[in-house]
Subunit: 337 residues, 2 copies
């Protein structure tokens, strides 16, 4: 037996707990005050796609937003882990056209769309998925806009030492108030670097982006623009029936919410000025979704309709092959506020 | 911070640990002596598909094996979580024909084959997957043979109170030496009941099946027949490039190995008379495969070639969308023997 983060969610099958999901979370204000937390929030984690809105700040510091007259839709796609629906593929195609580029400039690689309807359509047309369908294609378009704006070559923009990634890294460091180091670095699913930092630092970063507090003027204004764009176009940020989308839709601008691979959930309760970050120790995504839903139920003052949306995610039905309800993935109670 | 099972595997991305997988395991002989263990091995877990060979013992007590002259291939399929390759679908079709039944009698439901080549072929033929492709279709054929042998209706054979499931439950109880209770019961992916029991009880059950010790004569002989069938036809038990298959192929009858959903791994080192059971707390399958590979490396006296096979599973490469090596899922060291 060893010390560990607390159990924050479990899977129940029939009348018995089948799986246990441990993790840590922090809710922090822009001054770094801890509003709520559990587990080891000083542990550095890879934030993965949960910090795409922070990575998008390089578009602010390089002013590719002004240079190319980028729209809210473009910015929402830059923050997105999208599902490859038509609206996403068309949006990213348009974004790249605005830059005078095409899908051939994307270095994220191709994967099948997350959306089953989109996958079916591709198969029926006998088309292979392209880099446009990659859930990160909007983020990569944003990074390409940074390369163009600073006069760097677009080729190799995913590499750790490329001027684009140096800017992305600096933007994240500025908002989280921590140095990102090569001793805690990996390669993300879409081939850009991902940098580990403490859970509480990411939560504080989201609080700063929500409030502008502690940020230079351009980053403060840019962060507000990015959060506005994402929360006004939640469908572009994820897709139909996805947690990020339905939560942002339900809260109409009050909440910025974004998941990341391997059980990360980050965001901000904008009117309260709080940021939050959650990491499920074992990377389970369903469990991390149950966790963030339970957290928002506890701290975000949801109205009845918002609470209903969150409850659907805090207790998720598990179905078997024949579609029978066989259990639930659910957040534990009593640890969130 | 709370007490917890130890970390038995982790995912490393770049140079930093991204995920931690906790769990418990027991290696036990037929008398219940603990050879090796870690974590809480008295915790009841759902064994899921890892105990298909125990469930198949109902075919022994009902003597459907003798009644229908079932072959080793049929028995291997009864123990299988197969990938829906042609050889599996044809085998199960033949099994059902021997019983005078067809796929319409299966109550497991249909799902797409686990094997990508089989999925592709189905799509090209514009065919929907059938219950034959369900990874449990061989087990269900075995259960149908039990219904026929005991003169019970085949309809509803998946239900908890059906005479078939009563027999399956009794067979498991006989080998693990524990009562299975309705207070720890759930429905499996394929709609039959799954019963939770302590990890060490499943390990002891596999030791008894391997040795016959502590079992009535018919179960002892039947268990040997079932393990022989499975280890002689490892491809039927899982499929190409699957851990269960390649490990059993490498050990040529010395090891019975079977995975189950949500991070369960069970089996027996037959010549040593040891059974083992592993549960990954959070249900991660890759992590559970790393765990069982590390366990067998430590306790199964592998030769050089067998060790090579196990090493490929104890440290698994994680690739990203572009096929770059970005990390590993690997078992921890120093806890296995």
């Amino acid at each position: 037996m060893t010390d560990a983060n607390p159990i924050l969610a479990e899977m129940v099958r029939g009348n018995w707990v089948e799986n246990r999901y441990r993790g840590a979370f922090a809710v922090v204000d822009a001054d770094g005050r801890i509003i709520a937390s559990a587990g080891d929030i000083s542990r550095p984690i890879f934030p993965r796609s949960a910090v795409k809105s922070m990575q998008a700040l390089a578009m602010v510091t390089a002013d590719s937003i002004g240079r190319f007259g980028l729209s809210d839709e473009d910015l929402a796609l830059a923050c997105a882990s999208h599902r490859g629906e038509d609206v996403h593929v068309e949006g990213v195609t348009h974004f790249l056209e605005e830059l005078g580029l095409s899908k051939d400039d994307l270095e994220c690689g191709a994967h099948a769309p997350g959306d089953s309807e989109a996958r079916r359509q591709l198969r029926e047309r006998h088309e292979a998925p392209s880099a446009l369908h990659n859930n990160c294609s909007g983020k990569h378009s944003g990074m390409l806009s940074v390369a163009l704006a600073i006069g760097a070559p677009t080729l190799g923009y995913v590499n750790r030492d490329h001027p684009v990634q140096v800017r992305v890294r600096s933007a994240i460091e500025a908002v989280i108030g921590e140095k990102l180091t090569e001793g805690r670095c990996g390669t993300d699913g879409c081939s850009i670097p991902t940098w580990a930092a403490p859970i509480e630092a990411f939560a504080r970063g989201f609080a700063r982006m929500a409030t502008g507090k502690g940020l230079p003027h351009d980053l403060a204004a840019g962060a507000q623009r990015i959060f506005d764009a994402a929360t006004r176009h939640p469908h572009l940020v994820a897709g139909k029936e996805q947690l990020d989308t339905v939560v942002m839709e339900a809260f109409g601008g009050r909440i910025m919410q974004k998941g990341g691979a391997e059980g990360v959930q980050c965001g901000a309760i904008r009117d309260k000025g709080w940021g939050y970050a959650i990491k499920c120790d074992d990377g389970n995504m369903d469990a991390s979704r149950a966790m963030v839903a339970a957290l928002l139920l506890a701290i975000a003052d949801p109205d009845e309709k918002q609470a209903e949306v969150l409850q659907r995610w805090s207790v998720q039905t598990v179905k078997n092959v024949r579609g029978l309800d066989v259990g639930t993935v659910r957040a534990v109670e009593g640890v969130w506020a």
